[in-house]
Amino acid sequence: MLTLQFVPYSEIEYISSVGRIRKLLNIAKENRIVLLEGRLKKEEEAELIKATMEEINKDFKGIELSVIYPNKKESDLFRKLKKGFVNMLLGDRQGLTIIGPASIVREIKKDPDKIQLFTEDDTRAKKRRKK
């Protein structure tokens, strides 16, 4: 079973880094895929990986993490012009962060323009089809 949980930015906006990471990791540990509106800070991404490593055991194998940045397709100049202004208004609220338990999400493949979520169910289905 695949369960997605959407977390709006407002839910993490005013909590500490430690609290944010705890909250997101707890959802992933309940075998749900987190769709977070916006992004963590770079240092928080590293802290999230650290916290994940501390909790790995025979049931929890870690996470798949992917951050989608906004405006990837726009021309460089346009992006630069807009960036300063939009960042001032929205900051880390832009983009989308996906955090999935590794046992459910096999990999998240990312190209500049597209993102693909491979789940364990896909893998099994593919294997069955091959047979």
């Binding site: 770079k42 991404e45 990986i49 490593m53 790995i56 870690g62 993490l65 500049p112």
Partner: protein, 210 residues
């Protein structure tokens, strides 16, 4: 008279500390990218000895390894650094993956436990680095979040970065793809295992360390 003496003492200690200060050059990247293979290549080229064990089983390096005082020369340029080989950074570790390489369940679980600690140490050590070589497997998708997170964290800490696209001896290697994923960085394609393009790697290192 006392003044001259004071100056002499100051200069003496200044020199002492300058001599002691060594650049820490870190090797970061995902597991199995070839960090230890590159560390061995560097040590063999400049010290005539190797540094760490290399296998095809992921997470072979599970503790930070340091080789002190490596001097690299090219023309009249010279840099001296302590080389730090790290376990690397991963977001998941599954002991069952190790069993596919023939490890018993018990050994696989022990390796997984050590591997998680290794990742934590790698992240902790980020703050100690003066310059970092990010080693990527050029046959793999460069857009993985682990790569982006490593480079983003180095950027946030203002640590100079050289990106190595390793394993160019393999047909599947795509240096261009690595370059387009990290356009703001100097990317050098090498084979740490067979030594392809290693001179360009040292040249690039001079540029990044400065």
């Amino acid at each position: 008279m006392a003044n001259i003496f004071e100056k002499f003492i100051k200069a003496f200690f200044k020199n002492l500390f300058r001599r002691k200060k060594h650049i820490k050059l870190g090797l970061y990247g995902p597991p199995n990218a070839g960090k230890t293979t590159l560390a061995n290549k560097i040590c063999e080229d400049w010290l005539g000895e190797s540094m760490g064990k290399v296998t095809n089983v992921p997470h072979e390096t599970r503790e930070i390894q340091i080789k002190e005082q490596i001097n690299i020369k090219s023309g009249n340029k010279e840099i001296s650094f302590n080389l730090v080989d790290t376990p690397g950074i991963a977001t998941k570790i599954d002991y069952e993956d190790f069993m596919k390489f023939g490890l018993t369940a018990k050994k696989a679980k022990k390796r997984a436990k050590e591997a998680t600690k290794g990742v934590i140490d790698s992240i902790r050590w980020l703050d100690n680095m003066d310059t970092v070589v990010v080693v990527l497997d050029a046959t793999k998708d460069p857009y993985s979040q682990v790569n982006i997170t490593i480079i983003g964290n180095l950027e946030a800490r203002k640590i100079p970065v050289l990106v190595v696209a390793n394993k160019v001896d393999l047909k599947k290697a795509k240096i261009k793809k690595v370059q387009s994923a990290f356009p703001q960085y100097h990317v050098v394609g090498i084979s740490a295992k067979y030594g392809n393009n290693i001179d360009e790697f040292y040249e690039s290192l001079f540029k990044v360390v400065g």
